[in-house]
Subunit: 250 residues, 2 copies
């Protein structure tokens, strides 16, 4: 190991970023305010343009600021969505007629701005996960505070859900899990896989991601008590908008 994992003094661009972040988090700089530009940072700290740019890039990557072409970098305050892995999928949530994503929002309205529902031939992966050749596929985008934060694509074994509200844009109170329950196929166990990667261009467009923002990809399969897979959901999250929380016991 050529370098010790010990913490060193942070480099200058990071100390500048730390200072700007403190001014944002203290409320001195507010949502929509323009941050000091590259020229100002260069003069104030006697640094090169590349260093000033790096300092601003830190805040952009953290989702605290957003560049506007030709005009500078602006504070973008967005309280991260705290997505609680297990609580949100409890029977109390969907059994009580509430939408799953309402558990994440804590009073901030989640909106689904488009829903597409189609019956498709299952890909090899989906066929393997759901033991089906044909799938009903629900694609949608979620926004919070007018900001797109998540793309989600759910797959259901077609023979199980043909002719049910799961094939309609509006699935009714409690959503698809409550409808699976109506069919005697209540989800009982969930497996979530979490990965991170850079977004595909289509994801960058649909989520309005600034450069250098990774996405979190969550692949979840829902199983009945008997172990029958009833849904697979692929979610792509703006990493700057989310904190995922998982609680468990030793």
């Amino acid at each position: 190991m050529s370098e010790s994992p010990v913490a060193h003094d942070p480099p200058i661009y990071r100390r500048i970023a730390d200072g700007l972040r403190a001014r944002i988090l203290s409320g001195e700089l507010r949502d929509g305010d323009r941050l000091p530009g590259e020229n100002t940072l260069m003069a104030d700290h006697a640094i090169a343009r590349a260093t000033a740019r790096q300092a601003l890039a830190v805040l952009i990557n953290e989702g605290l600021a957003v560049p506007k072409r030709g005009s500078g970098v602006y504070v973008r305050l967005f309280k991260p969505i705290r997505r609680h892995g297990s609580r949100r999928l409890s029977r109390e949530q969907w059994g009580g007629g509430r939408a799953i994503w309402d558990a994440d929002a804590r009073g901030r309205p989640f909106t689904v701005d488009e829903v597409e529902v189609v019956r498709e031939e299952a890909s090899e992966e989906i066929a393997g996960l759901l033991a089906t050749e044909e799938a009903w596929v629900r694609r949608r985008r979620y926004s919070v505070d007018d900001r797109p934060v998540q793309l989600a694509t759910s797959y259901f074994p077609a023979p199980l859900v043909d002719g049910t509200p799961i094939t309609l844009p509006d699935t009714g109170p409690g959503g698809v899990y409550a409808r699976l329950r109506d069919l005697g196929l209540s989800p009982a166990h969930f497996t979530e896989e979490v990965r991170a990667r850079m977004p595909a261009p289509r994801e960058t467009r649909l989520l309005g991601l600034p450069g250098g923002t990774p996405v979190i990809v969550i692949s979840r399969t829902a199983y009945t008590e008997e172990g029958r897979p009833v849904e697979h959901n692929e979610m792509v999250l703006d990493s700057a908008a989310y904190v995922l929380q998982y609680d468990f016991d030793a």
Copy 2:
């Protein structure tokens, strides 16, 4: 919404990447093999250099290939580590004298290539999380198959662990959780927070990350049965090396 969330035909660079990925996953291209270069891809597919570069960048970002300066892009096969959020932290694991990270490895040797243990003044964040002014801090790097995959920094309330093996590089069978148990402070509940972001330069160096690879950041706090916080661990993972798995019930 200006664009439907419907799947479209993938762009050419992505189809080329799909083809190369299939050849890697089928075993036709093997670990260490050189991928077709930009010039070859340009000639074979009648595309611009930027498009060829994009195709190769997809595989690099996915961790399936690695660029070598001035020599091309090579297959780098590395089966992702499946990190099981809850099973690995079960009492059976550390209570039985096994290392936590052995649960992830499934027969592949995890190595800790450097451990630093120091007593430090707690940062404001750590002081708040652990209710302590001074902390013992354990910093280490983990590698699998000679590849660095994770940096981890654990914090303990200093008055609780002063003079115990937790302050030594080698903490003995079962590691720090077994030692906390010896002190009557068995971890009973865990909260993990998962984020993704681009790496800091130091993280890029220590993890040997190729350009465009995000990191997954896991912040975990361990609590005793009585709710007393006994450890906080900040982990920085190479996102191309990990899949996080969480299982839970409805």
